[in-house]
Symmetry: D2
Subunit: 373 residues, 4 copies
Amino acid sequence: MSSELKFGDFSVSIFGESHGAGIGAVINGLPSGIPIDMDKILDFMARRAPKKDGMSTRRSEKDTPEILSGFYNGKTTGTPLAAVIRNTDTRSQDYGNISVSARPGHADYTGFMRYNGANDPRGGGHFSGRLTAPLVFAGAVCGQILETVGIDCCAHILAIDGVYDDRFDELEISPELMKKIKSAEMPLINEGRSADMKAHVLAAAEKLDSVGGIIECAVTGLPAGIGSPMFDGIENRISQAVFGIPAVKAIAFGAGFGFAEMRGSQANDAMYMDGGKVRTKTNNNAGICGGISDGMPVIFTVAVKPTPSIAKPQKTVDFIKGEDTELVIKGRHDACIVPRAVPVIEAAANIAVLSLMLDNGHLINSHDNDGEQ
Amino acid sequence: MSSELKFGDFSVSIFGESHGAGIGAVINGLPSGIPIDMDKILDFMARRAPKKDGMSTRRSEKDTPEILSGFYNGKTTGTPLAAVIRNTDTRSQDYGNISVSARPGHADYTGFMRYNGANDPRGGGHFSGRLTAPLVFAGAVCGQILETVGIDCCAHILAIDGVYDDRFDELEISPELMKKIKSAEMPLINEGRSADMKAHVLAAAEKLDSVGGIIECAVTGLPAGIGSPMFDGIENRISQAVFGIPAVKAIAFGAGFGFAEMRGSQANDAMYMDGGKVRTKTNNNAGICGGISDGMPVIFTVAVKPTPSIAKPQKTVDFIKGEDTELVIKGRHDACIVPRAVPVIEAAANIAVLSLMLDNGHLINSHDNDGEQ
Amino acid sequence: MSSELKFGDFSVSIFGESHGAGIGAVINGLPSGIPIDMDKILDFMARRAPKKDGMSTRRSEKDTPEILSGFYNGKTTGTPLAAVIRNTDTRSQDYGNISVSARPGHADYTGFMRYNGANDPRGGGHFSGRLTAPLVFAGAVCGQILETVGIDCCAHILAIDGVYDDRFDELEISPELMKKIKSAEMPLINEGRSADMKAHVLAAAEKLDSVGGIIECAVTGLPAGIGSPMFDGIENRISQAVFGIPAVKAIAFGAGFGFAEMRGSQANDAMYMDGGKVRTKTNNNAGICGGISDGMPVIFTVAVKPTPSIAKPQKTVDFIKGEDTELVIKGRHDACIVPRAVPVIEAAANIAVLSLMLDNGHLINSHDNDGEQ
Amino acid sequence: MSSELKFGDFSVSIFGESHGAGIGAVINGLPSGIPIDMDKILDFMARRAPKKDGMSTRRSEKDTPEILSGFYNGKTTGTPLAAVIRNTDTRSQDYGNISVSARPGHADYTGFMRYNGANDPRGGGHFSGRLTAPLVFAGAVCGQILETVGIDCCAHILAIDGVYDDRFDELEISPELMKKIKSAEMPLINEGRSADMKAHVLAAAEKLDSVGGIIECAVTGLPAGIGSPMFDGIENRISQAVFGIPAVKAIAFGAGFGFAEMRGSQANDAMYMDGGKVRTKTNNNAGICGGISDGMPVIFTVAVKPTPSIAKPQKTVDFIKGEDTELVIKGRHDACIVPRAVPVIEAAANIAVLSLMLDNGHLINSHDNDGEQ
């Protein structure tokens, strides 16, 4: 019943509504004494922010988080880290009609039923994609902590409206490639696909429509032995986190649905020793067996549905009056949220992976425990 | 770090190893006073049990659960319901070599790394598919409780090795169809595909190989308004549960990865009033918006990888000696676990859905609360 | 590892440090559609605020919480309710020496060891009594929700420095008495004891010392059957909450330690029917058997240790240098925190009791569920 | 709503009813590779078993736990450790009348209300003191794990019916004293008080009555820095665990209620350096400040109410018929459960303390992690 990811002692709690006073996150159970570079946090968050490229919403606000607690002298204190992002640019009148007419593909009707009509409906309220801003903040913090032990998460657009990027090499992903993707305007392995993707988005936008896509995410540097059997495995935690992101409707690890047409002899990843380390010759299992890492990259893909807010007239219901109606959504909306969702997926992965590292006793307390009294 | 699904106050905890004394489940937070028909529980569990059709393992044991607590006078008591299944037919010698040579696609190496070599490796130990027996027991109990409020879960084989069954009608699934599937020898919508599927399995088995597949599962009767935003939505909970099942590597709700090639105008499910009730004309969103049910069927698919235990020689490592080796797996193994995984998926869905109903205040205490002092 | 009370789906998460930017609370799992009167919340919080009577700290700040989310049109939305209280009057220089010299009775040394020196030490940081402000906020919200179903919590000073107030009548506590106590300057049953108590506090303050006391708290209106066996009983939850309040070192339900000198025939509360309702003739068990309510008032006492911050010179250690030292605490501190702790205990009880009501399926969703579509 | 202690990733789940098939425990999140001596476990459990000294119930059964999982080659595996204790000697007919007449001081009425009459009432069902057997089992396992890092818990009878034992020296408790207490027939510091205590018990028994008492428990060897602020402190966790034990109604840490009559200058524990280690000159705070250990012994007392099952006629209600009645309890019951409760308190402390050590990253994985691949 909570908007909180709680994994053992570690938790990320998200609060806020699209048009309320503010949104934010509280992170409990962080290791103490880890330096956090706030500029890098803002850089990470900027990747989620609306762009001025015609692809995303024209709503612009400086989503700068204010850290209220848990951060002292440039380091995590180990006590709850709370951050708030103010809502400043909220044009509520645009949403006048959603309180009665359900926007298809949105949570207007389901949220109304869940809360007996008491939830804040403005701009989607607590269901708004805007709530991913504090999630990205939390994921950015977790990512910097993972970096200190050599773990890196990186996501890219795998597909938009049928236009595909290359896939990650399942056996090895270089830090350089990850860095390049994270700083690119369009997070792609093959930047050459950018123009084609944008063209598809603009074509849909012109028709008052929107498009969906696929995001691929890789986690490198995870040592073997991380995760737990059954319900606290890597797949369970990552999927629990990413399904918290609006518009995500599917997740696949490694060969994913492709396993359905494989033989065991293909699907099994043959193992070999490489300089004293166990490695596999393929990575269909996405670096995970029995929920636990084997040291190979953890790779997964998620499906992102097309932005449900489209300007085209739509058939729907007025669920207060209980009658059919037609809806034309005004307001500002992305014709494609896939590029902006990329850092959100990365953030969710960071949170899930940090939780697993902490579970297994890594990174607890300062990693700079030099034994001073 | 636990083999426990804990959703709010409701939890299902699974314990045991393949070749230990026994395996079992403890269910906490069940509503009290709900009649449970033990014969139906055994019927449900029989669907998971090894068959004598050449498709599945020849290991045979009567996996009859003994209920130790939480069940009195034919009803749930509301206190913890514990059940144990004895391990009786354990031929440990078959597994002599797995303590050193990692079986590819299994958790031998990852489990060793996770537990520093202290875990029970016999037959996969706690990672064995045998642990799905208590999960099915728990799911069968939850299913009977859901039945009392008209909720039904049903899964079928959607594909084996590229041979496809029909898909569920996304708008309506009849109780009769569900009943038929549950009592069929092969859980299919189109029974005519059975022979072809079996032929594929036997062909693989002959080549000492195995095949994977896809399972589709539907939940009907869920009222609108069930689930919670962000991390306690229907997708989060179902995925957290099903990734607890060995061999599941992907999950997709509704149109799933198909969303990637849809326009918003197609993907959005148009809404209309039907006899005072809100319904949608399509069901791409699988009856879920913002993590919460809209009253339409909840439908998802999962990918099941081919049985990793194959008789073909495989390249692997002896991770104790730290050297390459070749492995030939003896023992008894299914060439295709998809049919047996069907009730396991159903069980996981039952558990997740009951947890959501309880969260929202449904089914708490006896549903026969007639106000006696 | 978290500063969060999590009871099933309901949680109260507290964040902040004494001298950071702000402190606050996030409440997850509240029922939706419950009207909250913000003036009453402020009244409740004012009872905890520093007084101008010489008994408490001279630090003055308007601890007005800003609600950021979860509250719309004067009602709870059911989504996370977050509130922030700014820190405005922080004279950090007063605490210059605590970064090295541990204040006895405080968490300076233990916090340092817990967080390897990375926690914010200013003013006690996250360990400060100031963190009880958001706890009181959360408890005040919970209290208004409990009121809607006729449950009331009320605490009073039972003792300060050996001066005792009367005890609650264990069988019946009138709403009038509770109201009187809550609005009194000193929360007492027998207001006549106020002068004597104050005299003791001032006498201690003159000697640069402080005094402790006992607080008694009653919960009325709880129906029979609330709570759960073993670890989720009324005693478990209330004690888990109240030990979150700095300076609380003991808790006793009903006859408490007095049971040690009773016979079973005295200790057992004889039962009788009273107008169709079960009641008991005594209430040694504090309205709780097996962790579950029997309908009688739930009554408990807690011991509050003397304010550890005293102006008297104290022997302590400089735990950075690892040597003995003497400490004179400057700054502003209460000579007796018992009066200000009274609403904090009440708040903790409100939170624990609401969690139990929600567990048992009461108060879930709007209590005004009039069946509108 | 659960009979489970869940602290982060570590949990102890208890199941069973007094007269059902069996009772047991499942422990999740134990470190792997820790040797457990089963004979010592049985010795620990024997301390809780009914004695043949006239003080306790004449019911005798061999409460030997069968370990079903999580234990391999004499060591913990790290996966769930489950154990079952069969109920063999259950004379249900003795309890024929409790299904209608509430036994005062028991959970007959409250349990009925909690579960709408569906719970198993025989012998108190899930509320029976017999459920402490699996709790002791779990605590004994935890205790052996704590021993490997030099932590020891020991409880003794502090008082029975007004006859007092000595208290622990708050500054230092020798391993020899702890060992002596644990192996004594009556767990006392001053064995000379045994005869007097027994005389009081027998005197009460002769009058068909029972007596209560106080148990004191100490934890030594806990390093400084263990525990967390606010709701996951040492006091919170220990109290949450011990209130799970039937008959416990109060808990006090260190000076406890005595703080109410102390001045701050007395209550504060002066600190000093002793051979490079911080120590305190008194230990009123029970080795805990801000919920976190300071390295001194953690000492607490709990009040145990007199056995509510007494043979004396008692006034009560038949809550089915809704009328007053008189009850004479037959069956076998202890006139004093304090001696048998001593190892149960110790067990609860072991569980709580191990949870805190695991939280802080101690004892995770094998403590014999010699770096083998």
